[in-house]
Amino acid sequence: MSDPTQEPADSEQISEGLRVAVDLNRCQAYAQCCYAAPEHFVLQGREALFYHPAPPLSARDAVERARLACPVQAIRVEVVTDRSA
């Protein structure tokens, strides 16, 4: 897991990085994402998926691998490179 204390201060929006949301209704804890990107997706216990919702931009490839590996397409990712959108 990356260290959350490395993230920007609370009220600030991140200006660059990834945003991840997993639909945990769909997720069946198959853990393919955990193999694809072990730094960002971890099974805690038998069925509780813990994922990092705001990995750095450098994790882009790993997180994309995880997204594609998920058999139930539960992972949603946005790549944020600038906040003007």
Binding site: M1, P4, T5, E7, P8, A9, D10, S11, E12, Q13, I14, L18, R19, V20, A21, D23, L24, N25, C27, Q28, A29, Q44, G45, R46, E47, A48, F50, H52, P53, A54, R76, V77, E78, A85
Partner: protein, 424 residues
């Protein structure tokens, strides 16, 4: 409706964001404005009672991914204060007005406050709904309270208690019902939840109520007095008494709305007090009350993440003028993570008159229970057995006969239990 014009969304959170995306996907190319009472862009609330409290996720990290370019204007930190349907105009808290020609109401809910306002204002008394609430609660947990008292053993109360134990903090849940989650799961499954938390060191006080909160003489909460006369010394209190829908701003709009939500028809169009649908306005997410086709058209307002997404997508297509398809009929579903296990549910348990453990064994901590009403499957709840759930979700969607048909053939006959909901 045309592809242009001005679409306004009130509530810049999960349903607001997914509704806006659905409008764009469906070809709406006009002006789009999101009005949000909170100062933040949409963020994901489920983190707030789980990994944000344990410090694994920061407040800023909870921002939701935006999945379709929105080209939107954001009016954040500005609540809508009034709706004038005759002139298709919103009033905002900053004194300005905003015209619309289509409107999505996605104003969600807020935490139900402690009924005594003076006690609720004591330092150390928290509620949990927003990212700022979670940041404040996290800071209070880090400060090392002597004991955390949680008022209310619902999902959020149980998740907060679980986070407290992960942080090795002493914690007490006071729950007026017989066991936590009894209202949603019934006593059988609530007892499994109780055992789970007690095994992790949560002190559980069921069947009693917090009568009042007392301070230490300096305005900081110090203890709670219970209806059975006992007191609990606690310097941090989390009021987890459920939610109130944000509908006050609709007063005078002629829409049918109250603390339980804004009424819509089966397509998500809001209803006037005269019962007529307003085709320019839809509602979605926690704030919307609608007739659920799966439950004989019973009007429900669901507080589930997946529902906010699905209903907002439906409403967004509707407002964009695209064919939204058949009436919104998504099978309700939610998850909760507590005490290291995942509870998942499909369907609605309300009104169940029978319960069967269809898979696994509650004693082993992994099982799936099916709820029946009048001989039909109406809901299923899994504890660390989510993989079984889709098969039962299908039976619920099909209103299949109860007891359910099970996945494996070699199991004995099902024992039918009483779900044992507490008296209302």
């Amino acid at each position: 409706m045309s592809a242009n014009g001005h679409a306004v969304i009130v509530g810049a959170a999960l349903a607001g964001l997914r509704g806006a995306e659905a409008m764009r996907r469906a070809g709406f190319s006009g002006r789009l404005t999101l009005v949000g009472a909170e100062p933040h862009r949409p963020y994901d609330r489920p983190h707030l009672s789980k990994h944000m409290l344990t410090g694994e996720v920061s407040a800023a990290a909870t921002a939701l991914p935006n999945l379709v370019p929105l080209d939107a204007e954001w009016r954040l930190g500005t609540a809508a204060t009034g709706l004038d349907r005759a002139n298709r105009r919103l009033s905002l808290a900053d004194g300005t007005t905003l015209p619309y020609d289509r409107l999505l109401i996605a104003a969600g809910t807020r935490a139900r406050p402690w009924p005594n306002p003076a006690e609720g204002r004591l330092r150390g008394v928290h509620t949990l709904r927003t990212r700022d609430d979670a940041a404040a609660l996290r800071a209070a947990l880090v400060a090392g309270p002597r004991r955390v008292l949680i008022i209310g053993g619902g999902f959020i109360g149980c998740e907060v208690a679980s986070a407290c134990r992960t942080l090795d903090l002493p914690v007490t849940i006071v729950e007026p019902g017989p066991v936590p989650l009894a209202r949603v799961l019934g006593r059988h499954l609530g007892a499994v939840v109780a055992a789970l938390h007690e095994a992790r060191g949560v002190e559980l006080r069921s069947g009693t109520k917090v009568e009042r909160l007392e301070d230490d003489g300096s305005g900081r909460v110090a203890r709670a007095v219970l209806s059975d006369g006992d007191t609990i010394e606690a310097d941090l209190v989390v009021v987890a008494l459920g939610a109130v829908r944000n509908t006050e701003w609709l007063e005078g709009s002629g829409l049918k709305a109250d603390e339980g939500g804004v009424d819509c028809n089966a397509y998500g169009q809001v209803l006037g007090e005269d019962g007529r649908a307003d085709s320019a306005i839809a509602a979605a997410g926690d704030v919307a009350r609608f007739p659920h086709p799966l439950y004989d058209g019973r009007r429900v307002a669901l507080e589930h993440w997946g529902h906010a997404v699905a209903q907002a997508e439906h409403a967004g297509r509707l407002l964009a003028g695209a064919d939204p398809g058949p009436a919104y009929a998504e099978v309700p579903a939610f998850w909760s993570a507590q005490g290291g296990i995942t509870i998942k549910s499909v369907g609605l348990t309300e009104g169940a008159d029978a319960l069967a453990i269809a898979q696994g064994d509650p004693k082993a901590g992994r099982f799936l229970a099916v709820y029946g009403a009048k001989g039909r499957c109406i809901a299923a709840v899994s504890f660390d057995s989510g993989r079984w759930l889709p098969a039962y979700a299908e039976q619920i969607a099909a209103r299949a006969p109860f007891p359910p048909i099970r996945g494996a053939a070699d199991q004995g006959s099902l024992t039918i239990l009483d779900p044992a909901f507490p008296e209302a």
